[in-house]
């Protein structure tokens, strides 16, 4: 039974350095993964991960213990990635605005060819499809499926309204599907 993030943070605020080490151990892998996927640069991903924790420490006095920690820490990381990304990869990080919904292509009954891929091949193609997504779509996909966020948590982590999260997630998956089908 592991201790909750909020409990560890309270401990840390009371001077227990080990509690923060535990949080660093817990969140370094997912935050590095997010930053790496979004920025595709191992050095930048390391910087973002380190900077995320430093921002939490520098904001410690103002940090609220009554709000969930997980969306909060990801929100810092997402913002850092966006700030760096907008400078270094402006195209991938452009605001999506009100892009029209893509045509629903999967309503027909015929199973798409990707259905026949074995899991391993499918995963490889998914990775490629994911990498081709704009950063905003990629972010919601990673939060939802790699990190098991609820829609509410994604909304908190991305500062987006809940409905925008739903729409974005749906469109992200549609783009992934259409990419998989193009590859067939």
């Amino acid at each position: 039974m592991s201790l909750s993030d909020e409990f560890l943070l309270t401990q840390f605020k009371q001077g227990d350095a080990g509690a923060f080490r535990e949080l660093v151990e817990r969140y370094t892998p997912p935050i590095y993964n997010l930053a790496y996927r979004l920025l595709r640069d191992p050095a930048e991903a390391e910087n973002v991960t380190q900077e995320t924790f430093l921002r939490i420490v520098t904001a410690l006095d103002r940090l609220r213990l009554d709000i969930p920690f997980k969306p909060y820490i990801f929100r810092i990381a997402v913002n850092l990635c966006r700030d760096i990304g907008r400078k270094k990869k402006p195209l991938r990080f452009a605001d999506l605005g009100d892009d029209p919904a893509p045509v629903e292509t999967f309503a027909d009954d015929a199973p798409p060819l990707w259905e026949r891929l074995v899991d391993e091949e499918l995963r490889a193609q998914l990775h490629a499809a994911l990498d081709a997504l704009p950063a905003l779509y990629q972010t919601v996909i990673i939060l939802r499926y790699a990190e098991e966020f609820s829609y509410e948590e994604i909304a908190q982590a991305t500062s987006l309204p809940l409905n925008t999260v739903r729409t974005r997630l749906r469109r992200a998956k549609q783009q992934i599907r259409s990419r998989l089908e193009k590859r067939d």
Binding site: T28, P29, L54, K87, R123, L126, A146, I176
Partner: protein, 180 residues
Amino acid sequence: MDIPHLTPLEIEQYAEQEVPATRRAAVDAHVAACDSCRAQATRHTRLTASLRALTRQAAPADLAARISTHVEQYLTQEQIRRTRVPLIASAMVFSFLLVLWFALEMIVAFQENGVLDFFTLYTNDPGLVSLYSWDAILALCETLPFSEITLTGFALITALVLAQQLVDTLRPRTPRPEGF
């Protein structure tokens, strides 16, 4: 089947287990009965399951340890910084008091040895100075209160350096600029 098929949105909601409570029973029943909708839901579920199964890009093995060390170093510096503030502040106040004290001493000394009188004379009638012999001017210089001047200057520099230190120490450490 006579009833309409599920919409793509409903299929997605079903696969994500996000069907609104009011529709849940109807959607479940339809999926159970309809091969076509079930096939689509299964397809969707397989896609999301594969997305869930994607492995994370592994972080360097020592990254967490390095970050912890960095954070602890930062916190230690912060601790030192905080304990230093009262010390620097009191040293600064003391130095400014010294400046006042030495400056007063200096003014008193200037008055005592007649240098001030000379300056008043000089500003009123600069031509008068040319009447002074070099010896007289040198004698005047020798009577200048050098130790008071030096002490005032020294205390002033010390006070300013301490004030600067205090500002530096009090300034919150801002996160590094973008790009690090």
